[in-house]
């Protein structure tokens, strides 16, 4: 399979000399499901933000869906994120004042899709995550698990090539956490590439590929 995510000797140093990533090289193929596991401070979130083009590395080479990230403009990277990458965050990042369907539809705000198309896609995505009956609920009226499912619907509604999830179960109890992970597995079988960050080896164990990180370096890459 063609790699959709490619890191070669990527380093990221923050001002003050902290190295979050050290010479990381990894390739993730289209349709792969990978968990990045490691203790907090091991650099896994930084790796995700670099893969998601939200942050540029200090050195190295990054390619996302065939595009050389370090040579691309802000506009080009924004386009990449708008169309190809879906994010799921630990803190949900839903807008409290908007209903579930508007939150999901707003996930495609920068794709140039028309409002009606966005709402159609949002309705479909919410149905897929099992929230067809919650379209007009606001985040404050939903449980944590439901909110994270809205966030997942927002990430997948635009049919991205890559879904990047940063500790999506971090704010959830274990039951809803398992449901969310199962949902992500299920959705990713559509052909989207899934990269999930977790510090929980139990969750990572459910993934066909596990990338182990420690101190900003990849210390293991296991496949089942």
């Amino acid at each position: 399979m063609e790699p959709v995510l490619k890191l070669r000797e990527v380093s990221k140093k923050y001002p003050g000399g902290v190295a979050a990533l050290r010479d990381v090289s990894v390739e993730i193929s289209a349709g792969e499901q990978a968990a990045v596991v490691g203790p907090s401070g091991s650099g896994k979130t930084t790796m995700l933000t670099v893969l998601g083009t939200l942050e540029l590395p200090t050195s190295g080479f990054v390619e996302v869906v065939g595009r050389d990230v370090l040579r691309a403009s802000d506009v080009a990277l924004a386009g990449l994120r708008a169309h190809k990458i879906g994010f799921v965050f630990q803190g949900f990042h839903l807008q409290e004042s908007l209903t579930a369907i508007d939150n999901v539809a707003n996930g495609m705000l920068y794709t140039g899709a028309r409002a009606r198309e966005r709402r159609e896609a949002a309705r479909a995505a919410l149905a897929r995550v099992g929230l067809a009956g919650r379209l007009t609920h606001r985040p404050g009226q939903m449980s944590g698990g439901e909110r994270q499912r809205v966030a997942i619907a927002r990430a997948i509604a635009k049919r991205p090539v890559i879904v990047l999830a940063d500790e999506p179960t971090g704010n959830l109890d274990s039951k809803s956490g398992h449901e969310v992970i199962d949902l992500l597995h299920e959705l990713a079988t559509d052909g989207a590439t899934l990269v999930l960050i977790t510090h929980d080896p139990g969750i990572a164990a459910g993934f066909p590929r596990r990338i182990l990180m420690s101190d900003g370096e990849i210390v293991g890459d296991e496949r089942r």
Binding site: L54, V75, A78, L80, R81, G91, Q95, S97, L109, G112
Partner: protein, 415 residues
């Protein structure tokens, strides 16, 4: 390379717009995002727009009130007629004060462009007193003029009571009081045979004038007929002032000929005036006076602008999470700055519209109170919202740039 190939090569960059994977958001969607941003923080939006509304409202009110009272004054002047000219003795070439010949009124009346002319003659050595027991030098600043029956019409004067001198009463000791003179003498009606002691003779008050807008010096004067003045006080028939009504279209040519007509011997000793010009200058001065108040309005606007900038900076800091999310969803830096700029501009433009309404209301209240026409200059209808928009853009520049510069990951970590 063929010309066609070259052409297509040059045109290629334009195609980037149709790149299916570009990040884009139509302007109206961006505007609705900005509106939504304001709607979710209503109280704050209201308070920060209030500063702009007050500033613009103050300026609109100042402009409106001065335009209204100016319009009122000009309308008054127009109703009194703009064709009044005055002729009075000036200084001769040698520096002596001139004397108008007794033929002046007759000559002026012969001019084809003159509709009417009426003169006043100073009655010296006569003072007007309420009774003979008042010391003769306590005149209260009231002057005595002799005149003819045409004066009232010539200066567009109106009677408050009684009647003016006519061809009968001008021969007898009867007197008409100017408005100010009447109040100084404490005479408010003509009923009951009221008399004043004028130059040693009792004169019967037959009329009281309303204030004369076109020449307020007439207000502190009392008028007696020229024949009686000549008989009793030996008043010389040399006019101290002649009021001339010219044809409306011939005011300027007439004014140029008046001096030579009034005194062909010494035309340089005649001074010709256009009282309406002085009044118009006063109306213009009424407009000038507002500069200071406009300045105060501008200060209020500046404070409002700083308020908006301040609130937007706070908003950017508070909404780091939202900014990070939008960046993750594919917003470019430019989209972020445009969103915050639009919010700020929208906020101030709404403030501008509210200010326009406030200012118009204030003008209306003033106009109703003063019985004046209510006028808000047309340019204010465009200028007020436009000023708000501009101020909002300027106040929003820094916060918008700050929002765009935020690192998306830092922004996401914030919440």
């Amino acid at each position: 390379m063929s010309a066609a190939a070259l052409g297509s090569r040059i045109r290629r960059p334009r195609r980037r717009r149709s790149d299916p994977d570009a990040s884009r958001i139509p302007p109206h969607e961006l505007l609705s995002v900005a509106l939504q941003g304001l709607r979710t923080r209503r109280l704050r939006a209201f308070l920060s727009a209030l500063g702009i509304a007050i500033g613009i409202g103050a300026m609109v009110a100042v402009v409106g009130v001065s335009a209204s009272s100016q319009a009122n004054l000009l309308a008054l002047i127009d109703s009194l007629g703009t064709n009044l000219l005055t002729v009075s003795p000036g200084q001769t070439f040698l520096g002596n004060s001139g004397v108008l010949p007794d033929t002046a009124v007759g000559s002026i009346l012969h001019m084809p462009t003159v509709q009417q002319a009426s003169a006043v003659y100073q009655v010296s050595q006569a003072s007007v007193l309420r009774s003979p027991y008042v010391p003769a030098d306590e005149t209260g600043g009231i002057g005595v003029d002799a005149t003819d029956s045409g004066l009232l019409a010539a200066v567009s004067g109106k009677l408050a009571a009684g009647q003016f001198l006519d061809s009968a009463t001008e021969n007898y000791p009867t007197v008409v009081l100017g408005a100010e003179a009447a109040s100084t003498l404490q005479i408010f009606s003509v009923s009951g045979h009221i008399q004043v002691f004028l130059g040693g003779t009792w004169f019967t008050v037959i009329g009281i004038l309303q204030p004369v807008t076109l020449d307020s010096t007439l207000d502190s004067t009392v008028f007696i007929g020229l024949p009686v003045a000549e008989r009793l006080f030996q008043t010389q028939p040399n006019p101290s002032e002649i009021y001339v009504r010219a044809d409306q279209s011939q005011v300027t040519p007439t004014s140029k000929l008046l001096a030579a007509t009034a005194d062909p011997q010494q035309p340089d000793g005649v001074s010709v005036g256009v009282p309406v010009d002085a009044l118009k200058a006063r109306a213009a001065a009424k407009g000038q006076f507002t500069t200071l108040l406009l300045g105060l309005g501008a200060v209020a606007l500046l404070v409002g602008a700083i308020g908006i900038a301040n609130i937007m900076v706070i908003s950017v800091l508070e909404r780091r999470g939202e900014i990070g999310l939008r960046r993750a969803l594919g917003a470019t830096k430019r989209h972020i700055s445009a969103q915050f700029l639009a919010e700020s501009a929208l906020l101030a433009a709404l403030g501008g519209v509210a200010g326009l309404l406030l200012g118009a209301l204030a003008t209306l209240a003033y106009a109703l109170g003063q019985h004046e026409p209510m006028i808000v200059p047309g340019y204010a209808l465009v200028a007020a919202p436009a000023a708000g928009l501009t101020i909002g853009m300027i106040s929003g520049l820094y916060p918008a740039a700050k929002a765009a510069r935020l690192s998306p990951t830092e922004a996401l970590r914030a919440t």
